[in-house]
């Protein structure tokens, strides 16, 4: 019986990480939903609304997902090993957590775009993506098509966060992995999306041009390949990591 429960422990742990993560960030997610719908409503009292508020909330979710992937792994590495969990189990649990988190947040993102489309339609506003060349989402189908990549892009950010975190835990110079991960991640995000890169101006300039005129399906395949490769490297780093000495 105990061996049976030990065999399933990695999956229970991954599920537990997901439920704890959702509980921990539930307030933030609710706040993002409220702000994404409330701010356009307030603006709408004085001006025409033509930008999707949800687009910004969903993009903040990407950064949040990278922090979740990295933060959970870095924190749980010593605590789980101290609880008699093996590194393989932790790696599998983190992978399951990443899949569940990305799928769940991706579904929330997609649902948000669809609900927002209905909300904007009721108030006779235009649901559009604000960028140099504005991108209006003129139908439910168009909104869904625009949002469909979010589960994959969340998985991309989760993998990037976990990879950076595992490298930093493994070695003091592990932060150097940021140098390839950030530009590759942003470029892939741009490849996946039919919009222009989102973020601070310097970052947008950094990746703009890398991904022009590439079919989003190629972007999806490249992103999936990065996620698989990143997950494999993260697992190798976890398996090879010593638990750090405690600071006095």
């Amino acid at each position: 019986m105990s061996d049976l429960s030990l065999a399933a422990r990695r999956y229970r742990l991954g599920l537990g990480m997901f439920t704890e993560g959702v509980k921990y960030f539930a307030g933030w997610i609710v706040a993002a939903v409220v702000l994404a719908f409330l701010v356009p409503f307030i603006i709408g009292q004085w001006a025409d609304v033509s930008q999707s508020g949800w687009y910004h909330a969903a993009n903040v979710g990407k950064i949040c997902t990278a922090i979740v992937g990295g933060g959970f792994l870095y924190t749980m590495m010593p605590t789980m090993i101290a609880q008699g969990v093996t590194r393989r189990e932790l790696a599998t649990a983190t992978g399951l957590f990443g899949l569940l988190w990305s799928a769940a947040l991706g579904l929330v993102a997609i649902a948000g775009f669809l609900v927002e489309h209905a909300y904007y339609g009721l108030l006779d506003w235009t649901q559009g993506i604000d960028q140099d060349t504005p991108l209006p989402l003129e139908s439910y189908g168009h909104a869904f098509e625009f949002a469909a990549h979010y589960p994959l892009v969340f998985a991309l950010y989760f993998t990037g966060g976990a990879l950076v975190s595992a490298a930093i835990y493994r070695s003091d110079s592990g932060w150097l992995v940021l140098i390839p991960v950030i530009p590759i991640g942003l470029a892939l995000d741009d490849l996946l999306s039919s919009s222009e890169p989102w973020g601070p101006g310097w970052m947008v300039r950094f990746v703009t041009g890398l991904a022009d005129d590439v079919d989003p399906w190629i972007g999806a395949v490249l992103t999936a390949a990065f996620i698989v490769l990143g997950a494999w490297i993260t697992r190798r780093l976890i398996l090879d990591s010593a638990i750090r000495a405690k600071q006095a």
Partner: protein, 291 residues
């Protein structure tokens, strides 16, 4: 079942420096061991290898006869409790105790009983605990793990004397109820001496001594009696400590052979056991070891 520990020709390097070198050590199942050593001697490194917190640079680490590294059935029954515990500071005490259930042998009722006994505030976050309470939480997680090999690495630091005493008694009660292998790494040597069956002394990355407590303490003796007679008996011997009160003197010697024992008895000088701490200080004295 309780776990044996076997280290065979184990080396651990941090960069170019040897934290442990050529360590061969066997711990029998079902005993309470004291792991002693000066600061930086390699105690924590040794425990980290046994608990698979680290992988040795060379050699084999076996627990329960099996390699411990990435061995889930084994590591799930090994508990290494480090000073202050390994917790997420954002968790509550209740969360920390609940996470113990990742171990097949964890006893949540016992954990709750200990939390009550040691007055742990279940709703407080770990970061809000005092150093003493944090140490208690670490000790509780180690005891309630009901592991086959439990190692406490300076876990009592920060606990006040009554709490430490209660912890030692609980540890002993748990051991009597369910014999398993226990390793206590500590600098409070005389405080735990009565609980130990065997002592392992680590010095500069090597196992210096591994003996039953009685054998180790039998290496030396404390001679107490008239000062002139004690001086006469100990002349030319290596003294670990000496105290004088009026005409009475007490001298601790590092070695006591049968002849000296007989002469002391004939001279009316009382022979007592040597303190474990005095022996430890003597054995790990850098001058003695040529450092």
């Amino acid at each position: 079942m309780s776990f044996t520990v076997n280290l065979r020709d184990v080396t651990l390097k941090y960069g170019d420096a040897d934290a442990l070198a050529d360590v061969d050590l066997t711990l029998e199942a079902g005993k309470i061991y004291g792991l002693l050593g000066r600061n930086g001697a390699g105690k924590t490194s040794l425990l980290s290898l046994i608990a698979a917190f680290r992988r040795p640079t060379g050699g084999d680490v076996l627990v329960g006869g099996e390699p411990v590294w990435e061995n889930a059935p084994v590591v799930s029954r090994v508990a290494l409790v480090r000073e202050g515990g390994d917790f997420d500071d954002a968790d509550t005490v209740k969360d920390v105790l609940a996470s113990g259930e990742l171990r097949p042998s964890f006893d949540p009722d016992y954990a709750a009983k200990l939390a009550d006994k040691f007055e742990l505030p279940l709703k407080k976050k770990v970061r809000e605990l005092s150093r003493g309470k944090r140490s208690v939480l670490a000790a509780v997680t180690g005891l309630a793990a009901r592991a086959e090999l439990t190692m406490f690495d300076e876990v009592h630091l920060g606990m006040d004397a009554p709490t430490r005493d209660a912890f030692y008694k609980e540890l002993l009660a748990e051991y009597m109820d369910r014999p398993h292998t226990v390793v206590l790494s500590t600098h409070l040597i005389d405080e735990v001496a009565n609980y130990l069956e065997e002592v392992v002394i680590v010095d500069r990355g090597r196992v210096l001594v591994h003996q039953p407590v009685e054998t180790l303490q039998g290496r030396g003796a404390t001679l107490t009696g008239a000062a002139d007679r004690v001086d006469e008996l100990t002349e030319g011997l290596e003294l670990l400590a000496e105290q004088r009160l009026g005409g009475t003197k007490s001298a601790t010697v590092a070695a006591l052979d049968a002849d000296l024992r007989a002469r002391a008895a004939a001279a009316g000088v009382e022979i007592g056991p040597v303190g474990l701490q005095d022996l430890f200080i003597h054995l790990t004295n850098p001058d003695r070891n040529g450092a």
